[in-house]
């Protein structure tokens, strides 16, 4: 794999491996993917995009089938209102505090758009999830990147020092992606309290449901007290609905209203119905988190035996210091049937490994063992 491959290229490549159906048979269009698919005797395990290997739940699938009957209609507003009401109830806010997006990706992009229209500079850690930064650049906004601390954590002090009059939004992913690490909750809360009078703090809590640290708190409480904070959440992770595209923001009614004016403002009814069902399916969520923790333990135990460094992950992935260049590590692991995460610059000797099912993680350990030899 080439160095510097973008996330898009990497996903495209992954999609080519798995996404194709055999269109050719019906239309005479030569499927671009058929050759690639046929050359695979045994599908490698996806450990590269932080997906839930168990989802969508059976309850969500049932809701999806039921939604087919509404799928010819422009009638998702009722379902959207219902989703907002449910999210409000589950998070102790009102529906006016909720903006629904086409995945939290849309929330991130439209927040970047909002910031761009305000001619604001975005402040962002140097190692984090890139969607908001990339869209800000598309909007020709400046993005100021703050280096990580020595422990690869987010440097809140340094972020604070770098706020100036042009700063209108600050992006923080907690737990962070690709490190999986939490910020200290009290530090983060203090930072938000201090800074939110000057700029909107966007706290991406995509992995919220996976956090096991008892000291963790969501930043939603700050939203409740009216601070300029946007918390984003997604149905793509623990709910296993990444392909359905449902995410949401929790913020003050003022910010929600403004954000909504930029959103595409309609969702797919199948995704909405799936999310409404899945967020009420506590058993599935608990099962997904339990299995994720088991999967992490399978890998952590192996890495501990080998004395290999990894960060304390509160998510469904682990950031591992393989000491092998990721551009070599990726194809090597693929040979052993495992697809690992894309490169995260400048951490080229690290690998982000998404959790598959616990019983599949041994495949990573075995492959890694062979690559290490």
């Amino acid at each position: 794999m080439k160095k510097g491959m973008t996330r898009r290229e990497w996903i495209n490549r992954s999609a080519t491996l798995f996404g194709g159906s055999l269109l050719g048979a019906v239309t005479g269009v030569k499927s671009i993917n058929a050759a690639t698919i046929n050359s695979l005797s045994n599908k490698p395990v996806r450990m590269m995009l932080n997906e839930n290997p168990y989802g969508p739940s059976q309850i969500a699938r049932r809701a999806m089938r039921k939604a087919f009957g509404e799928s010819n209609l422009y009638s998702m507003r009722g379902a959207k209102a219902e989703f907002k009401e449910l999210m409000a109830k589950l998070n102790g806010v009102t529906p006016a505090h909720i903006a629904v997006g086409f995945g939290s990706g849309e929330i991130l992009k439209k927040s970047a758009l909002m910031n761009g229209i305000d001619k604001g500079e975005l402040l962002s850690p140097s190692l984090t999830f890139e969607t908001i930064n990339r869209y800000a650049k598309t909007m020709k906004s400046n993005v100021k990147r703050i280096p990580m601390k020595n422990d690869i954590g987010i440097d809140l002090n340094r972020m604070n020092e770098n706020i100036n009059r042009r700063t209108k939004m600050i992006y923080l992913c907690n737990p962070n992606n690709p490190t999986g690490m939490l910020m200290n909750t009290d530090d983060l809360e203090s930072f938000c309290l201090q800074v939110s009078s000057k700029a909107i703090v966007f706290v991406d809590e995509a992995y919220h449901e996976y956090v096991t640290d008892p000291n963790y708190r969501s930043m939603i409480d700050l939203v409740k007290s009216g601070k300029n904070v946007i918390v984003s959440r997604t149905a793509s992770k623990v709910h296993g609905l990444a392909g359905l595209r449902v995410g949401f923001a929790i913020s003050t009614p003022q910010i929600v209203k403004r954000l909504e004016s930029y959103l595409t403002d309609s969702l797919n009814i199948v995704g909405l119905r799936a999310a409404i069902a899945s967020y009420q399916d506590k058993r599935f969520q608990t099962h997904s988190v339990d299995m994720n923790n088991k999967a992490k333990k399978v890998v952590a135990d192996y890495l501990d035996t080998k004395g290999i460094q990894y960060l304390d992950s509160q998510t469904n992935f682990m950031f591992i210091k393989t000491d092998i260049d990721i551009s070599d590590f990726q194809p090597a692991m693929e040979k052993y049937g495992v697809l690992v995460g894309r490169p995260f610059l400048p951490f080229t000797n690290w690998c982000r490994l998404s959790m598959a099912k616990p019983e599949q993680m041994q495949k990573f350990n075995d492959g890694f063992g062979k690559v290490l030899r």
Copy 2:
């Protein structure tokens, strides 16, 4: 119904009638819709949002069920490439000419965004589909509205006269919504040829598949010859997939590339799979168009007997001069079990009527007869 109700309010109201499921039973959240639903002994027929009463097709539903297995994955890029390839083949262009959007609504909004970033003024007929104009205003762009001709057609000469240096995009819906009327193809083609050197012409062909006029041609040929034209299409109409949100633009590779940078850039896999299946299901499309023409005839025959004016519709709706204020007409028709279209200012004495199944259209005729008495 209040005068001046916005489209959003109207859809919200419709959604309240039909979109709600009984969330309350599971979560203890009081469903906002339950009361409304229970009070309806007999659902009124939806003739208000230009939906296909037959969709999604069985073949699309099968593809949707199959897509559940991919719904936990971020792997829609393969399906998206497949969809682009299919649209390219069906329209005689290359995949580089296709931008896929979350419904053609997203294509419209992001075109408005693109125009806004160029600081362009949008030129638009005074009576047309409002999505692009509304988003342009959200982007604080100026929208210059051109009055209709006496026959309620789009006045291309006057549009041409109003192009100035600030005009960067021109919106034309063909056939137009809510009139259902086509522009003369030769006139439109000449207009596009002349004007596209100065501004991008956005031709919204959402109702393309319903056109029966043998003189009609899509403006795709102009795209093929490299003109600055964007043609938009949608799976929401003849394919009956409005709730799944799949639309696309056909434009030059240069414009497509730029437009794509603003798009949310991921679709839902269930919608994509449904659209790929449905666009290959010629029988379903033909059946939908045939039934639509039968439905229009049921109404047209009735209106002819009564001597009531209506426009020549090449779509799945009709614009009818009821001579009754739409704010009175809507609730009156609802009483007779028919939901008709929202107000289109300043044509307050007209009604946009979407086609349901032919056998349901008699209900409109009967109700209208009673309202007229």
